[in-house]
Amino acid sequence: MTCYRSRDNWHSYVKYSLSEAERDEMASHLAHCPECRSIVAIIQETLESLAKKQVILCPPLDIKINVMKAIDKNRYRETIVSTNPFHLFELKNWGVSMIAAGILLFALNLTTLSPGSENGQMTELHTELGKQITIPFDKMSQVANDALEKIESLRLSK
């Protein structure tokens, strides 16, 4: 005769991995069921016998060495800003904006610096460098605009 509980959680029972209530209930069944008792006995014996048969198998020493060589030990270290592509993109945008602002300021400065110029040309003071940058005022805003447009298109194409 086969007990309807012969296929119960006896493997869990043997490993003490049941709730106390469950375990108590199964224990009381065992008390009056020789069939289930023999199942538990067989599982226990198998555990013991296999433990004895188990030859101690030492892992080769180089497992740890090879694993530690293969892994990237910095994998979980905080990443620095410059390596983050998102931050890089932001920085680039900032850079472009700064250049644009610089050009605008430069153009505005030139216009305000020489209000007394009559022929629309700026012959900058006495410096060598100054003499070289002689730009018609009326074209200044145009130049600045063009530069801004170029910068803008560069940014969009990225």
Partner: protein, 206 residues
Amino acid sequence: MHDDEAQNILKGDEELIKSILSGNGERYGDIVERYQTGLYRAVYYYTQNVEDARDLTQDIFIKAYNNLAGFKQGSAFSTWLYRIAVNHCLDWCRKKKPTYVESFSLDNLSSDEDSPEDLFLQQEITSEVQAAVGSLPAIYSTVLILYYFEDFSPQQIADITDIPKRTVETRLFRGRKMLRDKLQPKSSGGEDHDLLSKPGQLAQLR
């Protein structure tokens, strides 16, 4: 007492993993040291040879490291690690279709060099049980290895293998029977050969 010990291991693992995840990658060496013996042994049941067992064990540890951020704190690391291990071994078995009988044949043992590894292999190969477990269909060998050799409970095995606990119990019953049949010669009474338990009791488990 048993529970306290398990609790300590759990805590120790958790601390280690926290440390690794906060950038101390070198500490993974402690994890490897903690688990390599059990893992290597379990893997060996699948591969039945030391070279593949070593390679697979290494792969498993590397895979676990690279996925460590996915480990849920508060759960058992061993279960998580063995989950990766079992999947890796089953994949390997599917690809390789290992020839258990061949690797078990004595011819393989009489190699020219007698490196310590070979000696180990010889020693290990004498374990009839090991070979028998390895020759079972993977769904049975897996639950037997985890239950009998790696000391996991059916619930833990269910977590590792992603199958219901009920199924684990059933496979443990069937797997044990299959193992007994492999180890017990049919012709003789086999009293000396029954490695699992006494024949009288086996008769009751039908």
